[in-house]
């Protein structure tokens, strides 16, 4: 290999430009990538080596067409500035398809970029401090942090600086450039918000005896086989966050499975050797790490921590003791577009007088011109002059004063960004599916959008019963759409009916996120073109049978545990109810039912080698 980019533990130079986030990107990595592409094209670099390099730098091969790439831009903690959004807008226009895609792990993805242009995108990203480095491959992936961190009324402190310090510390760090497999950190703000049980390391901020710290969950993760993370210890003080993280990574690096592609995430290691044993090894490893950690290493981490706005004093943070629900503004006036939006997309912050506003996207898609509007909105209305993207594939603009809300709505809705329903089941999630992913069997992306528009048409957002429920869809069992943590989840597959292949989804019930998150249970298989009917049928029965003001997610949870109080008591009753609906007419009578969304061709399950583990 030619020159490699050195990891410099000692450089914690503060590079604070006005209105800019921390700098993650390096301009020289762009040139380096361009050169590698040339070598690869000249057959001087073999395909496997090149693929590994490409993934390390954040570019996946596009679906069944290796001339093109998907670039995954990391947004640590989801925290992004207007300048960065505008840059992504113009990069997408120039080199991608004129729109960007918000992922379920706070990344922003550009699709169908020609391989030869990838370096140009990197160059542009570095200009605004962004990077896609280690967004794919066997590395520390984007570090997530709840989009409410810093404004959540139930949080003990803002976890964002910790999430960013961890991200910064491990980016380009030699200790995690070649792990057995990818590795994910998720920080939450409070027990309710966040995806802490489905990450390799999930962290819930907490305070004990006046000391900041975390409840650390290890070994969770979604995929063809999913696991819920285990609690390491009752309390991990923030002073041990770094050593705990390093110890976990070292242990995994040493013991993780490097042979079996399908079992090399840390969760398999945990389940193979057993949690108690893993826990014991880890606590020992941590002692070792703490005894040997060098002062420069420690200092560089502390430096990263302090560059984050740890004690952001310009914004007062009033910490509340008692657990309160995030209040939404309730207006009982007629359902004008504005009040509809207000009811489901505006959330009060712990800072009194300030509100956070959701931008509901369709399966995470946003055009370049919309990104520019979003940037303007942030500059004009947000006190912190930044926004966060969310695992629900939306954006959240925070620190907006109440009297500005009508203006914000006007600006957003004039540009297709004012859809309501963000905190309801209307805000469906869909992975990229057959629109770009090599492993996809179905067009999960389009299905998510279809369901969302149908729900908007039916005014589902107006109905409080659907608040906090979710629909999440993956195009295959790999779970990038996080279907296992949805109220109603779906993952794509293929089956034969008669002599025809049909796109089909496995439906799951009662998954959830947060510290008490649970995985959904598979219920039954539903042909793609019947998913909508099935969902509506479930709604119909929910309305008939739920007790009191029970919400959909609560009702579904009861059914999936066999505790239904009405005609439908359990999953079997539910299946019986739905079986007649999923029956397909004969192919000759209705060929459309046998096709997937977004195509006129007959369905075939075509996949190529996945690059998830490369």
């Amino acid at each position: 290999m030619a020159k490699s980019i050195d990891y410099d533990v000692l450089s914690s130079s503060k590079n604070k430009e006005l209105e800019t986030n921390e700098k993650w990107g390096l301009a020289e990595e762009s040139e380096y990538f361009a050169n590698k592409v040339k070598l690869y094209r000249q057959d001087k670099l073999n395909a496997d080596e090149f693929r590994r390099f490409r993934l390390q730098n954040g570019a996946y091969g596009s679906r069944l067409n290796s001339e093109f790439s998907m670039i995954r831009i990391k947004v640590p903690g989801g925290d992004i500035t207007p300048t960065q959004l505008e840059k992504i807008a113009s990069l997408s226009e120039s080199f991608s398809i004129g729109s960007a895609h918000v992922s379920t792990r706070q990344n922003i993805q550009l699709h169908w970029v020609q391989l030869e242009d990838v370096s140009e995108v990197f160059r542009g990203l570095a200009e605004v401090g962004l990077t896609s480095r280690e967004a794919c491959g066997n590395t520390i992936r984007n570090v997530m942090c709840s989009h409410f961190a810093g404004v959540c009324p139930n949080e003990p402190f803002d976890a964002t600086p910790y999430a960013k310090a961890i991200a910064r510390f491990f980016l380009r760090n030699p200790i995690c450039q070649n792990l057995p497999r990818k590795f994910k950190f998720n920080f939450s703000c409070c027990p309710e918000h966040g995806y802490v049980r489905i990450a390799d390391v999930g962290l819930v901020p907490t305070i004990r005896d006046g000391v900041k710290g975390f409840r650390v969950y290890l070994g969770g993760g979604l995929g063809a086989a999913s696991f819920i993370g285990h609690l390491l210890e009752e309390f991990t003080p923030e002073s041990r966050l770094l050593s705990t993280s390093i110890a976990t990574i070292r242990l995994y690096d040493r013991l993780g499975n490097r042979e079996n592609l399908a079992r090399n995430r840390m969760r398999y290691l945990v389940s193979e050797i057993g949690w108690e044993k893993f826990q014991g090894l880890l606590l020992k490893e941590r002692i070792l790490v703490e005894a040997t950690i060098s002062i420069p290493t420690r200092k560089s981490y502390d430096g990263f921590l302090n560059t984050g706005d740890l004690n952001n004093t310009s914004i007062s943070s009033t910490s509340t003791k008692s657990k309160i629900k995030l209040p939404v503004i309730n207006s009982n006036s007629a359902d004008t577009p504005y009040t509809r939006w207000l009811n489901t997309n505006v959330v009060a912050q712990k800072q009194s007088g300030y509100y956070s506003v959701y931008i509901t996207l369709g399966a995470g898609d946003i055009t370049s011109s919309q990104l520019r509007i979003l940037a303007e909105c942030i500059r004009e209305f947000s006190l912190e002059k930044k926004a966060r993207n969310t695992p629900q594939q939306n954006f959240l603009i925070r620190y907006i004063k109440a009297d500005q809300l009508p203006k914000v709505f006007q600006k957003l809705s004039g540009n297709g960004l004012g859809n309501p329903g963000a905190n309801t089941i209307v805000s469906t999630v869909g992975c990229s599916g057959t629109t770009s992913c090599n492993l996809a069997i179905t067009n999960s992306h389009r299905l998510a959008k279809e369901i969302q528009s149908k729900f908007l048409e039916l005014n589902i957002d107006l109905d409080k019963d659907y608040v906090d429920s979710t629909i999440k869809i993956s195009g295959c069992p790999n779970s990038c759409g996080q279907h296992e943590v949805a109220t109603i989840g779906f993952y794509g597959g293929a089956t034969r009916i008669g002599t025809s292949m049909v796109p089909i989804y496995t439906m799951l019930f009662a998954g959830s996120t947060g510290e008490n998150g649970e995985l959904g249970k598979a219920i039954m298989r539903v042909p793609a073109k019947k998913v909508m009917d099935v969902v509506l049928k479930i709604f119909e029965h929910f309305k008939k049978e739920r007790k009191g003001d029970e919400k959909l997610n609560e009702w579904i949870y009861k059914i999936s545990n066999g505790n239904g109080a009405g005609e439908i008591k359990n999953v079997d009753d539910m299946k019986k109810l739905l079986l007649p609906i999923i029956e397909l007419p004969a192919f000759s009578a209705a060929p459309d039912f046998y096709k997937d969304y977004g195509t006129d061709s007959n369905f075939v399950a075509k996949t190529a080698r996945g690059e998830c583990a490369a």
């Binding site: 069944l64 067409n65 057959t434």
Partner: protein, 292 residues
């Protein structure tokens, strides 16, 4: 409809005319770069040394245009796209062999490029694109006026430059020639959907910068280098219908320093109507990614 078939048929008999190009003219007038910057144009206008051509629709021209500009809506040129008609147009606009011509539009330079290409094609040398669109010019508060300008008729010579022209037959021969690169300048999703076999995609959206219809030459050059395109390669550009987007690509590639660039003005529309083979990519539902 344009009728570029005519020059093709005359091609063989016209060799004399073509050869005339070899005899370089004495540099009596200063020459223009392919892209004319704002300051240069303003100076030329002040000195009365340039013919500015506005290729937007007539009614937009009438609402206001760059000082001294004449109107030549793209549609007018396209409906008279044979050499004799183009010469007539030049004559009527008062453009003689030595006149410096700067063309602008309000469509990121694509319409201006197509007109400029036609002027070059029939042998007008000193033609450039204005670096900004009319909208930008106006936003910068630069000189505009409403009066319609007319200049006395002149007589331009004909010196057709086939070296910048390609037709379907030419493309077919180029498809399997390693030294010739066919460039599709439509947007990515259109390209993925269908394109001329063996063509490569350089979407027109890659070519512009925030403030200019074309990026600076060093950037454009780097894009070509990234793609392994050598400055000595021959490149043929095409787009969806009448050669506007690919006209812009034509000028971009020239700017990048590639000397041998050709335009297929009838582009993919004609290619399809002739029933020629296309490459289609149906294995992904990429259109569903668009947020519109």
């Amino acid at each position: 409809m344009c009728c570029l078939n005519k020059p093709i048929n005359r091609k063989k008999n016209d060799i004399k005319v073509v050869n005339k190009r070899v005899k370089a003219k004495p540099p009596s007038t200063p020459s223009l770069n392919l892209v004319c910057d704002i300051d240069t144009l303003r100076t030329l206008i002040k000195k009365n040394k340039v013919r500015v051509v506005d290729v937007r629709k007539r009614d937009e021209y009438l609402k206001g245009h760059i000082k001294t500009a004449v109107s030549l809506p793209l549609a007018e040129l396209l409906s008279n796209d044979d050499p004799e008609s183009i010469i007539k147009i030049l004559n009527n606009l008062g453009i003689s062999d030595d006149t410096l011509v700067v063309i602008y539009d309000d469509t990121f330079g694509a319409l201006a490029s197509r007109v400029a290409w036609s002027f070059k094609f029939i042998g007008h040398r000193n033609v450039a694109l204005l670096e900004v669109t009319y909208d930008n010019w106006k936003k910068l508060g630069l000189e505009i006026e409403r009066k319609s300008n007319k200049y006395s008729k002149v007589s331009h010579s004909v010196d057709i430059d086939y070296s910048i022209f390609a037709d379907a037959e030419y493309i077919e021969n180029a498809q399997n020639d390693k030294n010739k690169i066919i460039i599709d300048s439509r947007e990515r999703l259109n390209f993925l959907t269908e394109h001329i076999p063996n063509s490569k995609n350089i979407p027109y959206t890659m070519l512009r910068s925030e403030n200019s219809i074309l990026r600076n030459p060093s950037e454009l050059k780097r894009f070509m280098e990234n793609r392994g395109i050598d400055l000595n390669n021959e490149i043929i550009t095409y787009c969806g219908s009448v050669g506007t987007l690919s006209g812009l690509a034509f000028f971009a590639l020239k700017t990048a320093g590639i000397s041998n660039v050709k335009l297929y003005p009838k582009s993919f529309k004609e290619w399809k109507s002739l029933g020629k083979p296309k490459t289609e990519f149906k294995d992904a539902t990429y259109w569903d990614l668009s947020a519109e």
